[in-house]
Amino acid sequence: MWRYVEPAFRSGFRTVLYDQVGAGGSDLRAYDTEKYSRLDGYVDDLIELCGELGLHDAIFVGHSVSAMIGVLASLKAPGLFGKLILVGPSPRYIDDGEYVGGFSADQIQELLDFLGENQMGWAAAIAPAIMGNSDRPELGQELVDSFCRMDPEIAKQFAHVTFTSDNRDDLPKVDVPTVILQCSDDIIAPTCVGEYVHRHIAGSTLVQLAATGHCPNLSAPGEVIDVIRAHL
């Protein structure tokens, strides 16, 4: 996810990247369905990881659900982060009264059912087919492999935890300088959600990207690098 962005910050910063437990190159034996039934399990991992590395006042950069994990970690471990950079964050994906998250509860349920039915279609079948089909040799086999490798059951639970999460109440508690990167035409985290996050984190900065889609770190790394750099 950060392959095109992270190298730009190696000079001048110590960069730390990690895979959430259950994904990528993480040790699947560490996956515990009870612990990871809530975002809090991932939050504890992040805090533990930073503790192990002795990080204080660090700059957290997170994308999508990982952005919210960073927000929650900053609340649970004050002093850990001196700045939050949130790319495409969403405190809640499902609409709720006045709040527009972008999806109805039925749509999310349909997604979760779809993932259940199609674990073979995308976890077992997609991944190997894609691995052998790279026309960008600079992406090592290892990267594609790690991006695609996710146990179907874990993927299902992760999707459930992500898309049914509601952390709107946590936003006003954030007291760390925060920068929100909002994409254009992002169906996962629409612009109104980015604006919601901006309104509810006092003193936060909202940056509208020209990049479209939900993964600007992949589709428009240059713009993401420039915006992050401008706000360090």
């Binding site: 999806f103 997604l111 279609g121 960008r136 939900h214 993964c215």
Partner: protein
């Protein structure tokens, strides 16, 4: 044959799959007639839409979180399961493949996307997933059966080993006693020997009863009861106590029975329960102190307890006390099958009652309580 431009156009427009050219971010640049037919949109209307707009909401999320990143990383994807939404709201299941146009002359990064109908394939996949789930469930059931079978097999081995050992002991004493009797010892000595022989026979018979009950219990039937009404328990409990006294003439057993009304129970089983508790108290209790037996019944319940002095039962042993083949720390010659307390507790359960234990440095007490109604 040489293909004309018309041939090539037809090859594109009327291909047996939907074919789309789009911007990397998903804006459709061109779509073939097949897609227009499937979805019920004019081809012009498709141009300018984003590929996301053609997907059902759930697969739109899936595309954005799982497929688009791969397209960005690799410039291609294959075998992506997606659902298209037609103009009148119907769903078309498709499998999608894509590759990015990337040569020196073309820097647009346009993406070719082919969509194949996958209704049957989706049904097939669903069937596979269900079959996979069913086979996992069957495997778990087999595993459970295997575990139970293994447990039984371990028990059976323990059982045979213990049985061989424990029946041989009293048999050896009977053998020795008989040999001494053949030498025609004096009257006093003979009487003592006969008492000891009698005790050994009682011990063997108790062991055999316990073994049979245990086997029945394990076979799933539980302890079989023959319930009788109007039973006066006092004589039955006296009889059991007397037998145990004969078996251990040097021990004191104090009784205190207050059983003023008849009850409904299986009398030999209650006798067996007391016999097992008393046997346990004699084996494990301090030899210098008496074993005490108490029984009373009121309108609601029968209580029988057996208490002995001596070292308390360790907390570890407490946990396993009522398990079959559990044997505390005693002299080898006194070991039983480790079934006595297990069977006593099974008898208690079969009567709708409980068997509990308290153990302190002052006293270890097993208490049996069962509801009696009015007998």
């Amino acid at each position: 044959m040489v293909l004309t431009v018309d041939d090539l156009e037809d090859l594109y427009d009327n291909a047996p799959f939907a074919y789309v050219l789009m911007q990397p971010a998903g804006s459709i640049v061109a779509a073939n007639a097949t897609l227009s037919d499937w979805l019920g949109y004019a081809r012009d209307a498709l141009v300018g839409k984003r590929i996301h707009d053609l997907l059902t909401p759930s697969t739109r999320i899936f595309y954005e979180t799982n497929v688009a990143p791969i397209l960005h990383l690799q410039g291609a994807f294959e075998n992506a399961s997606l659902n298209l939404k037609t103009a009148n709201g119907e769903t078309v299941a498709v499998t999608a493949a894509a590759s990015t146009r990337r040569d020196k002359a073309d820097q647009t990064g346009l993406v070719r996307v082919a969509l194949f109908k996958a209704t049957e394939r989706r049904r097939y996949e669903k069937g596979l997933i269900e079959a996979h789930k069913a086979s996992q469930e069957a495997e778990r059931a087999t595993q459970r059966l295997l575990d139970a079978e293994r447990e039984t097999s371990v028990l059976r081995e323990q059982f045979i080993a213990v049985l061989g050992h424990d029946l041989r002991n009293p048999l050896a004493s009977i053998n020795g006693g008989l040999r001494l009797l053949q030498k025609e010892p004096p009257e006093e000595r003979r009487k003592l020997l006969l008492e000891l022989l009698q005790a050994s026979v009682v011990r063997m018979s108790v062991l055999i009863d316990n073994v049979l009950d245990f086997a029945r219990g394990r076979l799933g039937a539980g302890i079989p009861l023959e319930l009788k009404t109007g039973i006066w328990l006092a004589p039955i409990l006296e009889q059991v106590t007397a037998e145990l006294r004969i078996g251990s003439p040097d021990r004191t057993i104090e009784t205190d029975f207050d059983l003023p009304r008849p009850i409904r129970c299986d009398p030999p089983r209650i006798g067996q329960l007391l016999s097992n508790l008393l046997g346990n108290a004699i084996t494990h209790g301090s030899p210098e102190r008496p074993v005490r037996v108490h029984a009373d019944n009121d309108n609601a319940r029968l209580t029988i307890w057996v208490a002995n002095a001596g070292d308390p039962i360790s907390p570890v042993a407490m946990e396993h006390l009522f398990q079959p083949f559990f044997r505390g720390q005693v002299r080898k010659s006194q070991q039983g099958l480790g079934l006595g307390l297990h069977i006593a507790s099974e008898i208690a359960k079969a009567h709708g009652g409980t068997l509990d234990v308290t153990s302190t440095p002052e006293e270890t007490r097993f208490t049996f309580i069962m509801p009696t109604g009015d007998g």
